[in-house]
């Protein structure tokens, strides 16, 4: 018979082997994430998914649920869920169906949401996390496809306004098994999931904009007896930080209620995170499980993703951010911090690697310039690396000029800014503006002699063995040459002359 509940999952294997003595009850947390997919058109109709359009301007008979309209699934949305399944080590179903989830709420005009129930598109995967040095595997129960709902605006006058631009935007639901035992693990999961969804290009996964939403379910369980507190669902979380704080709060709230024997506070419920007060607040009791009267969507035929197509999607799954971060550490010998920042965006990581390929020098130097000066120019202009007027070839050339002592690092900063502004190459700018470093002993000699003559005090200090004073003299030479002298050469020549 249709409509059986999901099979009960076995208790997860505890992630940490440590013995809990004072706190026999361990948190058991599951996360449900909704992510809007990056398609041009909606899930079941051709309305645009563009954000910020005029109210009810991206709406048609299908997403409005008018009688006689028929949904047709967006192939790209199906592909994106399979791609996500591939990235999360899930299996893709050979055959699956859509289901109607029935409920009364005007955020969907049809009075039901097209979702998936007992036949998700992808299922049974996992993600490995590195949480403060500890390896944790979180099982993914399913990643399925559904449609987003419209938006309500509640008026003070006692009525509500509804608009359906968001209604029907493809939405992916990713459900984990309740394998998390700490708020830190939840935070790392969401951080990695967001990076993955962006890396594989299926969602911008921005929680602040509502493109990604997370709902944790938290309770405590005694692993030995199997005894557990009732499950609590938390809503209204608009950032990863909020999830972290709300889960931490909820674990403590339940622990205290258990420790102090306040059983009346422990019941199945939905709570809301109050960002300002930093607490979870009771929204409603859940006496019965929700009855959405799921049944197979009769307007949609089953999906049987062609095996070749699925294989192709799995085969083209790119290197994921966590893997890439580890590789950057070993292959390029980068500090973990650098590797983390560079792999936060696939474009930035690609740019880094492409530049390294073109530059015969240290990867750390590429990383420093990329994370420092290049990023600050991009941030100032409010653009991303793939929109940068400086190609990786251009950056590699600039770095070569520094490495070969043609220009100093200080001058290079100005050259970079000019490159950014004009799109001209480093060599061109250096030549036209005569910025080459003076490494010619003859040219430097006269300037150095001048500086020695003008600064008898510091010169005496250097002769007396006060090494600090040499820095001052080098600075003077740099000033006279507008920063174009090779500071190392100046240093050496000064020492030779004064000792």
């Amino acid at each position: 018979m249709y409509g059986l509940a999901f099979p009960k999952c076995p208790l997860p294997i505890p992630n940490s082997r440590r013995k809990v003595i004072q706190m026999p009850m361990e948190p058991m947390i599951g996360l449900e994430v909704h992510a809007q997919l990056n398609t041009e058109s909606k899930m079941f109709c051709s309305c645009s998914t563009k954000f910020g359009a005029e109210p009810n301007s991206n709406v048609c008979p299908t997403c409005l649920g008018l009688p006689g309209s028929l949904p047709v699934p967006n192939r790209r949305a199906v592909e994106y869920v399979i791609r996500t399944g591939a990235a999360l080590n899930c299996q893709t179903a050979a055959r699956c169906r859509f289901a109607r989830k029935n409920y009364f709420y005007p955020d969907l005009a049809k009075n039901f949401q097209i979702s998936q129930y007992d036949e998700p598109l992808t299922h049974d995967g996992y993600i490995d996390l590195d949480v403060d040095g500890e390896q944790v595997r979180i099982r993914i129960r399913r990643a399925h496809l559904e449609e987003d709902t419209g938006k309500n605006i509640h008026l003070a006058t006692g009525s509500s306004l509804v608009e359906y631009n968001r209604s029907g935007i493809p939405l992916m639901e990713i459900v984990t098994e309740p394998d998390f035992t700490t708020a830190e693990q939840c935070r790392e999961y969401l951080t990695q999931l967001r990076l993955i969804l962006r890396c594989i290009g299926v969602s911008n996964a921005n929680m602040e904009e509502g493109a990604m939403r997370a709902e944790p379910t938290v309770n405590l369980v005694d692993r030995e007896t199997g005894e557990a507190t009732p499950k609590v669902e938390i809503k209204n979380l608009n950032s990863i930080r909020a999830v972290y704080q709300a889960v931490s709060y909820e674990i403590e709230r339940q622990r205290r209620a258990v420790a102090e024997g306040r059983e009346d506070e422990l019941f199945q419920q939905t709570r809301r995170w109050d960002e300002d007060k930093g607490v979870t607040v009771l929204m409603r009791r859940k006496e019965t499980s929700d009855d959405y009267m799921y049944f197979p969507e009769p307007d949609l035929v089953p999906l049987e993703p062609e095996p070749e197509w699925v294989e192709e999607i799995y085969a083209s799954c790119p290197e994921l951010p966590a893997e890439r971060r580890e590789r950057f550490c070993t292959e390029y010998d980068l500090p973990r911090y650098d590797a983390e920042v560079l792999t936060e965006s696939r474009q930035l990581a690609d740019y880094f690697e492409e530049t390294c390929k073109r530059f015969e020098g240290s990867a750390k130097m590429v990383s420093n310039w990329l994370m420092g000066d290049v990023m600050s120019l991009l941030n100032e202009a409010g653009i991303t690396i793939d929109q940068s007027p400086i190609s990786c070839e251009m950056l590699a050339e600039l770095l070569r000029l520094i490495k070969e002592d043609v220009i100093s690092g200080k001058i290079a900063k100005d050259v970079l800014a000019t490159m950014f502004e004009t799109g001209r190459s480093a060599a061109e700018i250096v030549e036209e503006e005569g910025l080459e470093q003076i490494s010619d002993t003859g040219a430097l000699e006269s300037v150095i002699d001048e500086v020695i003559e003008e600064n008898p005090g510091p010169v005496e200090d250097v002769r007396a063995g006060k090494d600090k004073a040499i820095g001052f003299l080098v600075g003077q030479v740099m000033r006279k040459t507008q920063g174009q002298a090779n500071p190392q050469m100046v240093n050496e020549m000064l020492r030779e002359k004064l000792t």
């Binding site: 008018l66 192939r75 197979p296």
Partner: protein
């Protein structure tokens, strides 16, 4: 006759957001019983070897490409709405779930 309890009638009515009088509940209790009796006859057939059917047409993989088409004008969108205000549908205040 298949037995349908009063609780089931009330639960189904609640799910459908129907407010039933005592008389209506009485009548529906009997009628639902007869409907389920018919379903019982179907349940008695051995269907172990039969794949569940959700769709009567033997068809799979009907897709559309991800292309934006024309949406309705907003006047048309709200044309059938019992109440509208400034391009929005207006509904009685919704209690936040």
């Amino acid at each position: 006759m298949a037995d349908v309890s009063r609780e089931v009638v009330e639960h189904v009515a609640m799910l459908a957001r129907l407010q039933l009088t005592e008389d209506e509940s009485d009548r529906l209790q009997k009628e639902l019983g007869r409907i389920l009796e018919y379903a019982d006859k179907l349940q008695a057939i051995d269907t172990d070897e039969v794949e569940g059917t959700s769709h009567v047409i033997p068809m799979t993989n009907v897709y559309r490409e991800d292309q934006v088409g024309v949406s309705l004008d907003v006047e048309e969108v709200v044309a059938n709405a019992p109440d509208a205000a400034e391009d929005f549908f207006r509904v009685p205040r919704i209690v936040e779930e």
